[in-house]
């Protein structure tokens, strides 16, 4: 690699063949543009070239390079393998792992142009998103995940040896069923140290002492209030708990220590993936926007030729295609298409705002697009990103329309379309559609009879009268298996009135 060649312009390569040296050259050139011209802040990259079978392997474990053994990964593997072999589905060009260094897989079969596109997309796009976005910063520790998965794998395998594969599988099955309700949405306050606890205790006592007044002692207490206080004290947990796996891990009466550790492993894994599910549109949009921008910049600098661009753009276009609802193969909104369009749109609003944009986005219209995009990437998730930045122009371009499916009506009703009256409502509805709290049913632990029959009570508060899928009973059985005693699920309406109770005896 000669620095003179890379520092200035000059065609890096032509033709489809890639070599490790060329990958290095491209990576260097892309890094130069990304870091120096656009100021992308990334983890160091670890680019790994793999074969297609290895890509299938990586798929099965949700992209992690290492995972504990479980049949469901086998199922996923078989499903992908079959789809791939029969030609029903191609393989992704890359997989990128939120770790430090950021690991990206390139497929051996790809051409040089594709490898460069993938490097720009994964190693600079996704990578900078992982490093910058607040959800990832808050909920994942990129430098520890690989080590943790190695630990998890070894631990699970050790348990299998000691306690038998079946018992381990039972616990993991049950945990997987609860995985979607095994994440923290808010940070627990860090536990107080002994010293802090003592300080507070002293403060409280001092406060009580200062406030002490003999006359209050002579007031009769109301009987009702005392009773309420008593029953309140007996109730555990005092506040409803939404992290079911955490509750099981901490309080399940019958679990053995190794089983608790398994619960913890699944919970930690679920938590690791928590930001991913909420930033799909942004993450893909961001990465797609950057590979598009970076490659164009390379073309402008004459580092790549027209053939390269044609190939990269052909692939780019395939990825960002949005089908209409009545077209074959429609699978909802394509996160790549929506995300990419929004990122480009923000840049457009900054660079060439129209009158409409000035009305809708007075704070960013005509601003510095790099700063605005960077701010958006760091501080939003899909829901808020769409709620904040989706412009009327895009709603028109996507021909978005909302359909209302209400229980009380015989027909579906078109709720809002891409017109002046509908823009705001449409945007709100679309944002809601990406709201994890709306998608997942609200199920929380309300009571654990720790002093009684040790039964566990969950409360499902229905939102907008939507029922649970029938599998819920299955999941309850899994929970009962972990809990070891009776588990019951109350269903309440939005006001909190209990409508029905399902109970699994154990």
């Amino acid at each position: 690699m000669s620095v003179s060649k890379l520092g200035g312009s000059g065609l890096i390569s032509s033709g489809a063949e890639w070599t490790f040296e060329l990958i290095e050259n491209y990576d260097h050139a892309i890094h130069d543009i990304a870091a120096n011209e656009f100021g992308l802040d990334t983890y160091p990259n670890q680019i790994e070239v793999i074969a297609s079978e290895q890509m299938l392997d990586a798929y099965a474990s949700a992209g992690l390079p290492i995972g504990y053994p479980h049949w469901s990964y086998g199922k996923e593997f078989i499903r992908n393998e079959q789809a791939y072999r029969t030609g029903a589905r191609g393989l992704a060009y890359e997989i990128v792992i939120n770790s430090d260094p950021c690991i990206a897989y390139l497929m051996e079969e790809n051409t040089m142009a594709m490898q460069a596109l993938v490097i720009a997309h994964a190693c600079y796009g996704h990578n900078s998103f992982f490093k910058g976005n607040y959800l990832f910063r808050q909920w994942t520790s990129a430098d520890a995940i690989i080590d943790y998965m190695v630990f998890a794998r070894n631990y699970v395998m050790q348990c299998e040896e000691t306690y038998g594969a079946e018992r381990v599988e039972e616990v993991l099955d049950s945990c997987h069923a609860l995985m979607s309700h095994g994440v923290d949405r808010y940070r627990h306050p860090t536990p107080l140290s002994v010293a802090e606890e003592r300080d507070r205790q002293r403060d409280r006592e001092e406060y009580a002492w200062r406030q002490y007044d003999e006359i209050w002692r002579t007031l009769p207490t109301r009987a009702g209030a005392a009773g309420a206080q008593k029953s309140g004290a007996a109730r555990f947990p005092t506040e409803p708990q939404e992290n079911l796996l955490y509750f099981v891990e901490k309080y399940a009466p019958k679990l053995e220590p190794w089983q608790r550790e398994l619960v913890r492993i699944v919970r930690k894994t679920a938590q690791y993936f928590y930001p991913q599910s909420q930033t799909k549109v942004m993450n893909e949009g961001w990465a797609t926007f950057w590979h598009y921008t970076l490659l164009h910049r390379m073309f402008d600098k004459a580092q790549v030729d027209a053939g390269f661009m044609i190939e990269a753009l052909a692939s780019h276009t395939n990825v960002t295609m949005q089908r209409g609802f009545d077209q074959r193969g429609y699978g909802g909104l394509n996160p790549y298409a929506l995300g990419f369009a929004m990122m480009c749109d923000i840049r457009r609003i900054c660079e060439a705002p129209t009158q409409e944009d000035r009305e809708w986005f007075p704070e960013i219209a005509g601003g510095d697009w790099m700063k605005v995009l960077d701010f958006a990437m760091r501080n939003y998730k899909d829901e808020s990103f769409i709620g904040q930045f989706l412009s009327p122009k895009l709603m028109r371009e996507f021909h978005l329309f909302a359909v209302a499916d209400h229980e009380g009506e015989d027909d579906l009703v078109v709720d809002a379309i891409h017109n002046e009256q509908g823009f705001r409502r449409l945007r709100r509805l679309l944002a809601t559609q990406y709201n994890r709290d709306q998608l997942l049913p609200d199920i929380q632990v309300t009571r654990y009879e720790s002093a009684g029959d040790r039964s566990l009570t969950l409360r499902h508060q229905r939102s907008r009268k939507r029922p649970l899928a029938e599998e819920a009973n299955e999941v309850l059985r899994h929970l009962a298996r972990l809990w070891g005693f009776t588990v019951r699920l109350e269903t309440s309406d939005e006001s909190g009135r209990v409508e029905s109770v399902n109970e699994i005896q154990c």
Binding site: A402, Q433, K465
Partner: protein, 416 residues
């Protein structure tokens, strides 16, 4: 700066374990699907990999989520061309909305379809037949081997020692280890010639002697030089065979009975393909007269009529005589019938079999698929008196009873 790593040579089958776990967990469903596949498949295709289907609902992993219908919800979709707000759209049948929120597996049906490898398929197929292990192994792999040379290994028995290779290695090692010493020696000798002082000379001479003795101490041959000729076993099929499948297709043969017959024929066929390089199949069906047909007709066409077993035996004899002379073909016969033969037919069949067919064939197996077990059929009655180690018969009601018919054959041929 990025690190670039070539991982292509790493393990490729990381998920083999998970895959096996999946198969083990859903063995029952997969086995059921295998049974369906067996029914459709031709005998000659039986030992291939297979596509199996299992219902998706059996293998789904449950989770708490909202049901697909009920309650109030809105979906945002793209591609509006003619809707205006307030338009009504009839609810699609099935009640589900236009599910854009769910996202995902478009076009998935109710079945989870995937391929089993040949080994996996055969394992499940054999499981059903309850074959003993010996036979499974025999069928699972080619049994005859020929030794073939395959280069050299560093370990082996003395008889396989390759002297030339070992000595070549030894020489290479001696040269390699000795080279620096010899270079040192040359330098010292050159230095000695250059310098003339006597005292230094003596020290140098000592050093030279030391280096010379070190060179002399390099062993002539060492353990690591040894190379042994390596030989591997190559599977080696033997010659050719023909298998005659005889079946009574009169109306009393139901589909169930034919399924049993098919398994029986398949088992014999698999055994023969392991043993012989080339196996031909001849299908003869008979009612009151016999015909040679192709496999599909054999198993799936129905034909009405009486039952004359003799006709099939005669036809087999004819075909064998015309196309498969017993000196160049190994002939195997397999007959399936419900045993309902009338009049003189059973006796005539028996004598035809004993006198004319058994001398020709290496093995003849008869499987009866009766309606009731307790009453021996006329044909059984006649065949029971055959005393030959080339003949086996059994009355079979269920799949796991098929194998014993061939037990003698397997025992003899497999352990030979």
């Amino acid at each position: 700066m990025s690190i670039i790593i070539d991982r292509r040579l790493n393990d490729r089958n990381k998920n083999a374990v998970n895959r096996q776990r999946f198969l083990r967990r859903y063995k029952e469903q997969i086995r059921k699907s295998v049974t369906d596949v067996v029914a459709e498949r031709s005998i000659t295709d039986m030992d291939k990999s297979g596509i199996v289907n299992i219902p998706v609902k059996d293998i789904s992993e449950p989770s708490f989520h909202h049901g697909s219908s009920g309650g109030d919800r809105e979906y945002v979709n793209s591609g509006n061309r003619h809707f205006n707000s307030g338009d009504k759209i009839p609810r699609p049948t099935g009640g589900s909305g236009k599910g854009s929120g769910e996202g995902g597996e478009g076009g998935d049906s109710d079945n989870f379809t995937f391929a089993l490898s040949r080994e996996e398929f055969m394992k499940l197929f054999f499981d059903d037949l309850e074959l003993p292990h010996l036979v499974r192994n025999t069928l699972g792999e080619a049994r005859d081997f020929k030794w073939r040379r395959a280069g050299y290994t560093p370990t082996g028995v003395p008889a396989n020692l390759s002297v030339v290779r070992s000595l070549r290695n030894a020489m290479a090692r001696r040269i390699a280890i000795g080279a620096p010493l010899r270079r040192q020696l040359l330098e010292m000798e050159a230095a000695q010639v250059a310098e003339d002082e006597i005292a230094a000379d003596e020290i140098a001479a000592n050093e030279i002697a030391a280096v010379r003795s070190r060179i002399a101490r390099i062993p002539f041959i060492e353990e690591i030089d040894l190379r042994y000729r390596h030989r591997v076993k190559d599977p080696q099929p033997i010659s050719r065979a023909v298998m005659f499948c005889l079946m009574d297709v009169s109306a009393s043969m139901t589909e169930d009975k034919k399924d049993l017959a098919k398994r029986f024929f398949t088992l014999l066929y698999l055994f023969l393909t392991r043993k012989y390089e080339k196996v031909e199949l001849v299908f003869i069906r008979h009612t009151d007269d016999a015909q040679e047909v192709d496999e599909d007709t054999f198993f799936h066409d129905t034909k009405s009529g009486g039952t004359v077993v003799l006709s099939a035996l005669k036809l087999m004899q004819e075909i064998a005589g015309a196309r498969y002379p017993s000196d160049s073909w190994n002939i195997y016969g397999a007959q399936v019938s419900d045993g309902d033969a009338f009049g003189a037919d059973p006796e005539k069949s028996r004598s035809c079999l004993v006198d004319q067919l058994l001398p020709l064939v290496r093995y003849f197996a008869y499987v009866e698929v009766p309606d009731q077990v307790d009453r021996p059929s006329p044909l059984t009655h006649a065949y029971q008196r055959i005393d030959s180690d080339r003949f086996a018969m059994k009355s079979v009601m269920a799949r796991n009873e098929v194998y014993p018919v061939l037990r003698e054959l397997f025992k003899r041929e497999a352990t030979a």
